[in-house]
């Protein structure tokens, strides 16, 4: 496995599998501890829709069987573990009989798109601003304005989203209030559609960017302070290299690497924050799906979304841990 020691790899792999297993088990156990019966809820929905349900008891037994609730718990558990490995979360109870996995697959590209886009923007802006806070040649304005902007760092994106939504969508009407694309455009690879997607995605993305760039900037500031005093920076100055060149090639390049591991610790919170932003913007992603599922008490969908998001988080952490030694040769992995 290249330069990664086998023991390190095995260690990370065990952590990854344990994370997935513990999360999956929690998601399975918690609903079973509660007195609420999903079959009851479905029957209640039918009764509400049709006025009354004939043969309610038989129906209930039938529904339980279709969810596998009539089998012993231990059998249910292992069946569940087998199913989620193949992303089979069963059928949605609210939009019965759609498969949960197909609902998630429809929402996933929107969530991933918004996440990757806003993540790249924040990473670049945040690290650059963080470096400028420390750099001795940065304009005076930067040293005053950036720390002031940093105050927004701690605000969860849902709050910034509400404010932006009110100002730019409700008041000024520059951007649409909700949705991921216009109701009048046909989804597809047409210019109209792409334009509509960008127009709809701007506010959700900006509301994430303005409150998360500070996290990177703060980390970068700390790292830059360390790098600033290193001998190779002094040498570069003594050689008479251009200040800007030193900043990008000597300082930021060395300081940015540990930032990548910071990402691994932060990603869970980032995804959770984005889920909430999608909910308030009614953006067609996992957040909206989750919110609708909570309203409908659609347990298979809630479980499926939670599992997929935790899986995404755990995989990203695992990948960062694996890739990191290749990016930063200074890191040596010990067995533990």
């Amino acid at each position: 496995m290249g330069r990664i020691p086998r023991s390190y790899l095995i260690n990370r792999l065990i952590t990854l599998l344990l994370t997935i297993w513990i999360a999956a088990t929690l998601i399975w156990i918690i609903p079973r501890l509660s007195p609420v019966d999903p079959a009851d809820i479905m029957l209640g929905r039918m009764a509400a829709g049709a006025g009354s349900v004939a043969n309610a008891d038989e129906m209930l037994a039938q529904l339980r069987a279709s969810f596998g609730l009539d089998q012993p718990l231990i059998v249910q558990y292992f069946k569940y573990l087998g199913n989620i490995l193949t992303f089979d979360f069963g059928l949605s109870t609210a939009s019965f009989p759609t498969e949960v996995s197909s609902l998630i697959m429809r929402a996933l590209p929107w969530t991933l798109g918004l996440m990757i886009l806003s993540l790249i923007i924040t990473f670049v802006i945040g690290n650059l601003l963080g470096a400028l806070m420390v750099w001795e040649h940065s304009p005076k304005l930067a040293k005053v304005a950036i720390p002031a902007a940093m105050v927004f760092t701690s605000i969860p994106p849902i709050l910034s989203g509400l404010l932006l939504m009110w100002i730019f969508a409700a008041k000024l009407q520059w951007f649409p209030l909700t949705g991921a694309y216009g109701l009048t455009v046909e989804p597809g690879w047409t210019w109209d559609f792409v334009q509509s997607v960008i127009w709809h995605g701007t506010l959700p993305a900006v509301s994430i960017v303005i409150v998360t760039f500070g996290f990177w900037a703060l980390g970068m500031r700390g790292l830059m302070i360390t790098v600033q005093g290193e001998d190779y920076v002094t040498l570069a100055k003594a050689k008479g290299l251009k200040n800007r060149y030193i900043l990008y090639r000597y300082m930021i390049r060395n300081a940015i690497l540990p930032q990548i591991t910071a990402f691994a610790l932060k990603i869970g919170l980032l995804i959770a924050g984005q889920v909430l932003v999608e909910r308030i913007f009614a953006y067609n992603g996992m957040g909206k799906l989750l919110y609708d599922a909570i309203l409908d008490q659609d347990f298979p969908v809630i479980q499926g979304i939670s599992y997929v998001i935790i899986l995404m988080t755990a995989l990203s952490v695992f990948l960062v841990d694996l890739i990191y030694p290749f990016i930063d040769p200074r890191i040596k992995h010990e067995g533990s």
């Binding site: 701690s154 404010l163 869970g268």
Partner: protein, 318 residues
Amino acid sequence: MAEYSTDDNTAEATHKMTRAERRQARRMRRFDNPWNNPKLFWGAGLLLGIIALGILGRLFWDLELVFTGSGMLKLPPIGFENLRGQEGTLANPLGTDGAGRDILALIIIGAPNSLFVGLLASLIGMSAGIMLGFTAGFVGGRTDDVIRVLSDVMITIPPLLILVVFQASFGDVSLTMMALLIAGFVWQSPTRLIRAQVLSMRESGYVQMARLSGASTFHIMFKEMLPNLVPYLFGSFIANVTTSIVTAVGLEVLGLGPQRIPTLGRTIYEAINAGALIQNLWWWWGIPTILLAVMFIGLLLINLGLDEVSNPRLRKLS
């Protein structure tokens, strides 16, 4: 001889100091104290402001107004006019929501509640983290492996999603219950922090010294090592308070969380669902949003201040 002359000099200097100079010297001493940090003061001030709002509000404001239908619907704050042309009244200085609840009474009850959930969850998480971290660092071996792997695993799982599953299954929860649930996800970072520090400090001179002089493990842990960790622990505590409040507000905005107690997040949830953004009822969602923002900014300032306390390089920078 040398000592004598030094003493003499200082005595003379003190004697000759004018009042202004003494004040200057005192100010320098004060600036030298790392805990005397403007960011810390501002942050603590903002949080105390929210606590004061809760206490003074309970003393001077009628909290019965928090019940549905206790006022006119969708009244604006004083000095504003809503779409129906009604003006704000003294009876509801911050306006009312779509069910006639007084916004001022809502925030008097809701804002300290959010802070309470954050503090309680973080406090429990911190206590568990200190115990587990010291245990892992001192006992080592199998115990250490289990604790380390468990904290690695749990730090990856976003609390919001597990709690969504929990609350969707169980329905209504109390504030304390919510804090306890969140606490299950904020013990990892103090555990890792303490474990790493214990491992590196265990071999340091003063700990060795204490051990040689026959101090008990308990004494070494809590009297020798813990005081050195205070700035880090405090920083981790504040960060966890933020995470806990963010998680609690997230649950509330999804329509989960306590259903019978007014919370800031639930107020925002109701406002969004009632279309308050389009109807320009900005006070309904805006006032809770601003209060939460103030809370988060206060916590951030405290954390930035603490960073400067524990990292002198940052102090020189600003």
